[in-house]
């Protein structure tokens, strides 16, 4: 065995210390792999559900992250084992695809592996196990489809959306004000959603955080917030009905890309050059003025002289705005990004009802709010919170909620709750009794792992929750009912389906490995 357990029951890998190239074969290899996968799942198990605990992660540079988002935990962990890396990948792909359920998918994969181990011990060939799992997963997939409910919502009735987002948020540290955050997430998604095409571009939602204040102060701004201030301290701090010129060229003398030299050899040339230079600055500002701009947002820096000229001509300006933000501003204000001064024209300007600078706290922290934009398709969620880690965790939680809301708009089907998988499991048993009974039972048992972990984390007895009401779930919050429909605990169908598919796939992959060769450390 390449794996041993220390006195705390933690697995550690001895391979590295051995000098020669190590090799594991057959059942040993599979068992080692399964053990590694289970170890990863065990870490995440306690983070599941509304009463799940957080993990504290210290990065190589000493920064601290506190989170209960499965994908983040795994990404930040120093994972060395190849199989463990597969599990990390698994959670990441769930994150990319769905955005939520990253913990659940790993726990499920872990449970599947655990069950597979038992089967392997009974002498069943791994390929048979893998095939059985595949079959079972398909049944489960279809069944979920059948028990899911169509989901009704409209722009006026966002309540169902909010409820589903709240389920996602309730397992995070922000559950204190999950209602408010869920509403923010849903409103943000609806603001940018293309309801006809049923698509949501999450890039249009900017999530900006600033430490200080309290979580309740988190707000949704129909516009853009840029962490910048006016280039000249004496420029106006508030502009109404702003016409915004969005520039990607610096307010500086031109730097042609081809190599060139300007030789100065006479006094006249020196003087003409000087005049040219002054004229150039003047022209730049004049062009902005001519186009009718009342605010200039520029990707690059300004020369002192240009800065003063802008100030002088009463044209407020913001410099060093990042490319992504610039794009968002362009979308929000309906303006065009202009790469050259010559191309500035009135119709390329963006419009915003109000641009204001807001300062925070006691330090010189200012932010620029661009609001009441011509096109409200870009929104910003502005998070406040007690400390840096809180903000980061809120960002991650909101991301999950946003993803859930987006998935709902895309595919409007819901499945009631996590814990009804138990019901599902029993159904599966009936379906697959012929031939592969052993296999399907183990798959069903694995599906039980998620509600089991939930119940454990909530300090409830798992056995109590085995009643067979089709809407039955686990009452994590002590509400007093097990009916998830009454509790309004919903999840998206696609999220659940993906979890099952992805977990089965990875488990299949792991089971098929029968030889592990690792290079020796030199």
């Amino acid at each position: 065995m390449a794996l041993a357990f220390d006195e705390f029951g933690r697995p550690f890998i001895i391979l590295r210390e051995q000098e020669k190239k190590t090799r594991l074969r057959g059942l040993d290899a599979q068992k080692a792999n399964i053990a590694a996968g289970k170890a990863v799942a065990r870490i995440l198990r306690t983070s599941l559900g509304p009463k799940g605990m957080d993990k504290m992660l210290q990065s190589p540079d000493g920064d601290v992250i506190i989170t209960n988002d499965g994908a983040t935990i795994l990404e930040q962990m120093d994972v060395d084992n190849q199989i463990a890396k597969l599990m990390v990948e698994l959670s990441r792909s769930q994150d990319y695809e769905i955005g939520d359920g990253t913990t659940g998918v790993v726990v499920m994969a872990g449970a599947l592996l655990e069950q597979a181990e038992k089967l392997l011990e009974h002498g069943i060939h791994p390929i048979r196990v893998a095939e059985g799992y595949e079959m079972a997963s398909r049944v489960a997939f279809d069944h979920l489809e059948r028990i899911s409910r169509k989901f009704e919502f409209s722009a006026d009735n966002i309540e169902p959306l909010v409820q589903t987002c709240m389920t996602t948020l309730s397992s995070k540290i922000v559950n204190r004000c999950k209602r408010a955050l869920a509403e923010i997430a849903v409103k943000a998604v609806l603001a940018v959603a293309d309801l006809e095409r049923k698509d949501v571009n999450l890039d249009l939602i900017k999530v900006e955080g600033k430490v200080g204040g309290k979580l309740e102060d988190t707000e949704l701004v129909y516009g853009i917030i840029v962490d910048k201030d006016m280039s000249h301290p004496q420029m106006p701090k508030r502009i109404e009905d702003a016409k915004i010129a969005i520039l990607t060229c610096p307010f500086e003398p031109p730097k042609p890309k081809t190599k060139h030299k300007v030789d100065i050899d006479t006094v006249e040339k020196f003087q003409t050059l000087r005049e040219q230079e002054q004229k150039y600055f003047d022209e730049m500002v004049q062009k902005c003025k001519d186009a009718g701009a009342t605010l200039v947002i520029c990707q690059w820096g300004f020369d002192d002289e240009a800065n003063h000229l802008l100030m002088h001509r009463n044209l407020p300006a913001v410099r060093w705005v990042g490319g992504v933000e610039l794009e968002l501003i362009a979308i929000a204000t309906g303006g065009r990004i202009v790469p050259r001064f010559q191309e500035l024209s009135p119709e390329k300007l963006g419009k915003a009802g109000l641009v204001r600078e807001k300062s925070f706290g006691t330090t010189k922290d200012r932010m620029l709010y661009i609001e009441q934009c011509a096109n409200s398709r870009a929104v910003t969620i502005f998070i406040r919170g007690g400390n840096k880690m809180m903000i980061e965790e809120t960002k991650r939680s909101l991301h999950d909620a946003l993803c859930v809301a987006r998935n709902l708009i895309r595919i409007t089907q819901l499945c009631t709750a996590v814990a009804q998988q138990r019901y599902l499991a029993q159904l599966l048993l009936k379906l697959l009794q012929i031939g592969t009974l052993e296999l399907s039972r183990s798959f069903a048992d694995a599906l039980d792992a998620v509600p089991l972990a939930l119940a454990e984390n909530s300090g409830l007895s798992p056995i109590d929750t085995l009643t067979c009401n089709p809407h039955c779930g686990i009452d994590c919050n002590d509400v007093g009912t097990n009916d998830m429909k009454e509790q309004n605990v919903f999840e998206t169908l696609i999220g659940k389906q993906q979890q099952i598919l992805l977990a089965t796939q990875v488990v299949k992959m792991i089971l098929k490995i029968d030889d592990v060769i690792s290079p020796s450390e030199y």
């Binding site: 605990m53 000493g62 200080g212 004496q234 031109p254 030789d263 100065i264 006479t266 006691t362 010189k364």
Partner: protein, 525 residues
């Protein structure tokens, strides 16, 4: 388990993890605990850098900022203290101590086998209750200017009383209040300049209505100007470079070099002429002024000040009401700054330039005097705290009493709540109230008073309606905070309460710590 070694990637689970974070957090809170309150003690911090600089302080944020911490939970506490500093400026110690006490109480509950999530639920309920109580008990004197000023004075004195300036707190409170009221509601403390000059005693510090620039006047230029017209500029006054990219001078004979040099000089001369044409008699530039233009200015009888730092320039522009100019072609439209008198003054043995009788009164300068650099640094920090609190209070005018009064009021209400709440949560709510009471206890302990006796008296006192009792540290008894004029800003108290609970909650939720292998240097193989 007290120290987490930075060795290799490691993880700690369950009880171990919880213990590691509790121990770390409590160690931090115990560290700063003794600095709390009017009789709190200071800490000496020695840097590991060259020179082994020593800082003496009792500002929580400053202490925590300079610590090298390896414990993840401790870092959370350091972070909340930093945020408190940025957001409201004061209460940096209290927030850490409160979070520490909350965790200490939570540890006891966990030993009683209560699940952390239950504790968190209880804490949240208690927090709601405590905040509502605070909101009800605030006083607001926004309408009454005189009373508001007294409030501000009281707040400033309360803040300063725990700092090095406590001896002259009335004097400094007056300084701070004056300075902040000049800002007229802006929280931009940049316009209050604090100058530190060693020598004299703290009492010799003063608030100057005008503006003091830590620069010397050029030689041969007037030392005193009355009715000054000031042009504040940010422009290159060395050799005015040609900014067009790729331009370079290429000549083939010496005479041409001379020509170009002359042209350059001419260009500079013209620039200076243009500046002079503004009709000014004082020119302040952010960048260097070379000898040649300086000489030209001196000839024109203009005071030229070079190389003021950027904040200096901004402040000066604010004070004198001018704009910061970089081009000089349209003298008629550039707003010039004005002031009555510019003169060179001496503070200690340094010569400074003093602008008095300025047009706009927003900015001002506080000159701190003191026996040593350390005293001055600490005085600056204390004054900064006071200024921050005051500027926040001007915006949010709600105030509370100090001296442990708010904690006791909250504790009372939270206690009530605990009695009404069924279930295990009530233990947690109880614990919250105990943590709140720990703050006055620590203040009393630090003052060398019998805290057990005092707190019980205080609690009895608070059972009456509308009680204003708190700890009077000076006499060592329970005193009437209203009479003593000990007040605190509501905003600060609220921020302390919220971020401490948030941090405690965060640490409580953790059941596993994973530490990555520290990034090694390149030489490891």
């Amino acid at each position: 388990m007290e120290r987490m070694l930075k060795d290799d990637a490691r993880e700690e689970k369950g009880e171990l993890a919880r213990m590691a974070s509790f121990v770390g957090a409590m160690a931090i809170s115990d560290l700063v605990k003794t600095t709390l309150g009017p009789k709190g003690m200071d800490k000496i911090l020695q840097s590991t850098g060259r020179g082994r600089n020593v800082t003496v302080t009792n500002d929580g944020a400053t202490i925590l900022k300079s610590l090298h911490i390896d414990n993840a939970a401790a870092k959370v506490l350091v972070d909340i203290s930093k945020v408190q500093d940025d957001e409201v400026g004061d209460g940096t110690t209290s927030v850490v101590v409160l979070a520490g006490e909350l965790l200490r109480e939570a540890e006891k509950l966990i030993n009683m086998k209560i699940h952390p999530m239950t504790i968190i639920a209880g804490y949240r309920m208690a927090l709601e209750c405590a905040r509502d109580t605070l909101l009800q008990k605030t006083m607001d004197n926004k309408e009454n200017t005189d009373k508001f000023r007294t409030d501000l004075m009281n707040i400033a004195m309360t803040t300063l009383s725990s700092k090095i300036l406590s001896q002259d707190k009335e004097y400094f409170a007056e300084l701070a209040v004056d300075a902040v009221l000049r800002l007229k509601g802006s929280t931009n403390l940049e316009s209050i300049q604090i100058l530190k000059k060693p020598g004299g005693s703290l009492k010799d510090s003063f608030l100057d209505e005008g503006f003091i620039l830590d620069k010397k006047i050029g030689i041969g230029q007037p030392k005193r100007i009355e009715n000054a017209k000031i042009l504040v500029a940010n422009t290159a006054m060395d050799t005015d470079k040609v900014k067009i990219y790729g331009a370079r001078v290429r000549v083939d004979s010496m005479s041409k070099v001379a020509d170009i040099e002359a042209a350059e000089k001419q260009k500079m001369r013209e620039k200076v002429q243009k500046i002079i044409a503004h009709g000014i008699n004082c020119f302040v530039n952010r960048q260097l002024i070379y000898n040649f233009p300086e000489e030209l200015f001196a000839d024109a009888g203009i005071l030229a000040i070079e190389h003021a730092d950027f904040e200096g320039i901004e402040r000066l522009a604010l004070v004198t009401g001018g704009e910061i100019a970089s081009t000089f072609d349209n003298p008629e439209s550039v707003k010039l700054g004005h002031c009555k008198v510019i003169e060179e003054i001496m503070i200690g043995e340094d010569r400074l330039i003093h602008f008095s009788g300025v047009a706009m009164g927003q900015a001002c300068t506080i000159v701190l005097r003191g026996a040593s650099e350390h005293v001055l640094d600490e005085a600056e920090r204390s004054l900064h705290d006071a200024l921050c609190v005051l500027s926040q209070t001007v915006n949010d005018t709600r105030v509370l009493f100090g001296g442990g009064w708010p904690e006791m009021v909250m504790a009372k209400e939270v206690d009530e709540l605990a009695r009404k709440t069924p279930g295990k949560k009530s233990h947690a709510i109880d614990a919250f109230s105990r943590a709140l009471q720990a703050i006055p206890t620590i203040i009393a302990d630090n003052a060398g008073l019998d805290s057990a006796e005092l707190i019980s008296q205080l609690r009895a006192e608070h059972h009456k309606e509308n009680c204003t009792a708190g700890i009077d540290v000076i006499t060592g008894t329970v005193g009437d905070m209203q009479k003593l004029g000990i007040q605190e800003s509501f905003k600060v108290k609220q921020a302390i309460l919220l971020s401490a609970t948030e941090a405690a909650e965060m640490i409580l939720r953790v059941d596993e710590i994973i530490t990555c292998a520290p990034r090694r240097r390149e030489d490891r193989m």
